[in-house]
């Protein structure tokens, strides 16, 4: 029984047919990765799940409930949070306010405090900068904040869009260690990456997207062995 099922979803930006029948499953407890070249439709897939992009046809089912007609702000309440591509930190809000926004739908003040504690334990740099506005953080710190902010929703399904983009290799390792840790603590993760090598090191299964279609899927081991994947994404 899949936690998330994306079934044959088509989306359009005006006349641009961005997703041409995408189907993806994510089981509870998994890390699933979406890889693919720029413009393949990875971000659009995440945004369709979050309700920012409406499918013209197809459906998206989260734990037996169709969510593709819900407005984005209600999808969050269903237990889905996204750390978007390019981080999209609120540059004029402080680090703490950014985290509070992540918990916007929640009313349980005590638990919110606990979760903020958890984010700060995971990313001590954020605690040091708690009163600083987001715009003054370094790229790596902003990425930590984007992930921490998504965690503040206490999602059961966490969507990460290119968390390694533009980061130094050491920071990338840090971020991926956190991804693995979150997963071990029970969060299901759908991870979009251009860095297939890193993605395969943490994920269980993966999908390869090309121009709005799923062209390959399988366990990480299967994908690693696939000659086309090796040629196109692993530089071999």
């Amino acid at each position: 029984m899949a936690m998330l099922e994306v079934r044959n979803v088509h989306t359009y930006y005006g006349n641009i047919h961005a997703l041409k029948g995408i189907s993806i499953n994510v089981d509870e407890g998994e890390i699933v990765t979406l890889i693919g070249a720029n413009g393949a439709g990875k971000s659009t897939t995440l945004n369709a799940i979050c309700g920012l992009v409406k499918p013209r046809s197809g459906e998206i089912v989260l734990e037996n409930e169709a969510i593709h007609r819900l407005p984005a702000h209600e999808v969050v309440s269903k237990g889905v949070a996204q750390s978007p591509e390019g981080r999209r930190i609120f540059g004029r809000l402080t680090v703490q306010e950014n985290l509070e926004m992540g918990a916007f739908r929640r009313a349980d003040a005590g638990a919110i405090q606990e979760d903020m504690r958890r984010v700060f334990d995971l990313f001590p740099r954020l605690e040091e900068r708690r009163k600083q506005v987001g715009g003054t953080l370094s790229g790596g710190e902003q990425q930590m904040l984007a992930i921490g902010r998504a965690m503040m929703a206490r999602p059961r399904l966490l969507l990460l869009d290119e968390p390694s983009m533009g980061l130094a290799p050491l920071l990338v390792e840090d971020i991926f260690r956190v991804v693995r840790q979150l997963n071990e603590q029970g969060t299901t993760i759908l991870l979009v990456e251009q860095n297939a090598l890193m993605a395969f090191s943490v994920a269980h299964r993966g999908y390869v997207l090309e121009t709005g279609r799923v062209v390959l899927e399988g366990t990480v081991d299967e994908l690693r062995e696939n000659p086309e994947v090796q040629k196109a994404y692993l530089g071999g």
Binding site: C50, G51, L52, P71, A72, H73, E74, V76, S77, A81, Q82, P84, R88, F90, G91, R92, L93, E97, E100, M101, G102, F104, R105, R149, A153
Partner: protein, 360 residues
């Protein structure tokens, strides 16, 4: 190709000449008039200057409160709500009818307690009415145009402004109405101070207006800085899509922003009525335009900027004609020259720069 490339460069050079030229001319003019007024003619004594300053500060407070409404809406939707002055006018009318009704029942001046309560009720009714109108305005005139090119909601706003003015004329008539203040805050009555050669009057309505303006500004600052809704407003102002990802209902936040801007305009309308005394269907036009100027002066979209811009403009309007030795009828011309000057020299306003990087 060659000609194409050189043309914009040429016009850029002309622009570079024009700005300092205008700057020098304006500055020289101001200094010359200033010198004349202060040292050559010595037209005004200290009491007169004091009177100008007081009226400017009071007016500035009202401008600031109205300007906040422009700036809040601009900060979130990047649109100028040109109907904002008319929302203020309708708030003024709501307060007017409330006071009329209370006077009719005899409660208005029954006791000090009832007089104070009447004024409070008038403010509440004015603010609630203006809030409702602002929210409906957004729903009907602006929301359907969300996502359209930026000029489109602007045109809709001008249409809404004309509609509200004409509807008010139709419903309330074209005649000027006199606000019935309770006797404890009669207009043009207050404390008198002896300064220099003359007496300076500090009116009760003026003090009330200024104190209320300051309270409203403090309240708004706290709301935007401290409350969950205020933080959501700032998040939506920065990035609507990401705000929605956080679970923020962007439409609701926009509605709330219009509600707050409406409440401020309603309060300003009642203050205007109590202090200035006369209202009519067109009464929101000039203060609206002035407050818009104030918001641009402070940097539109910037909350402290709107407060500062309002006070600056009010004081400038009151002192400007005297300082420059010009007839007082020219005060509006002076106020609007500020708009032109700001747009030429510092389009982002005095405190602005925040929004310039991502306007779309």
């Amino acid at each position: 190709m060659e000609a194409e490339a050189s043309r914009p460069k040429q016009s850029f050079n002309v622009g570079r000449w024009i700005r300092p030229l205008i700057g020098v001319v304006v500055l020289a003019f101001i200094l010359w008039r200033f010198w004349n007024v202060l040292f050559v003619q010595q037209v005004y004594g200290p009491d007169t200057w004091m009177r100008f300053a007081i009226s400017g500060i009071i007016l500035g407070g009202v401008y600031a409160v109205i300007a906040l409404g422009y700036t809040l809406v601009y900060g979130i939707l990047f649109m100028i709500n040109f109907a904002h002055g008319d929302v203020m006018m309708l708030g003024a009318f709501a307060g007017f009818f409330t006071l009329e009704a209370l006077r009719g029942t005899g409660l208005l001046n029954q006791s000090i307690f009832w007089s104070i309560l009447s004024v409070i009720i008038a403010f509440l009714v004015g603010m609630v009415a203006a809030t409702v109108i602002a929210v409906v305005l957004e729903r009907v005139a602006y929301r359907p145009l969300r996502g359209a090119p930026r000029l489109v909601p602007l045109i809709s706003a001008i249409g809404a402004s004309l509609f509200l003015e004409n509807a008010a004329q139709l419903v309330f008539g074209a005649q000027r109405q006199t606000y019935s203040n309770p006797t404890i805050i009669e207009r043009n009555v207050g404390w008198t101070f002896h300064i220099g050669e003359g007496d300076v009057l500090l009116t009760y309505t003026g003090v009330l207006t200024f104190v209320l303006s300051v309270l409203l500004m403090i309240g708004l600052a706290l709301l935007v800085q401290r409350t969950k809704m205020g933080k959501a407003m700032r998040a939506v102002a920065e990035d609507k899509q990401t705000a929605a990802l956080m679970g923020i209902d962007v439409d609701q936040v926009i509605s709330t922003t219009f509600a707050i801007s409406g409440a401020l305009a309603g309060a300003a309308g009642v203050m205007w009525g109590l202090h200035m005394g006369i209202i009519y269907h067109f009464v929101g036009f000039l203060p609206g335009l002035k407050a818009f100027t104030a918001a641009v002066l402070g940097g539109i979209g910037n909350i402290p900027g709107a407060m500062m811009g309002g006070l600056t403009l009010g004081i400038f309007e009151a002192l400007g004609p005297a300082v420059l030795g010009m007839p007082f009828q020219l005060k509006d011309v002076l106020a609007f020259s500020i708009l032109v000057l700001v747009l030429i020299f510092r389009p982002t306003g005095l405190l602005g720069e925040v929004l310039s990087e991502k306007k779309a």
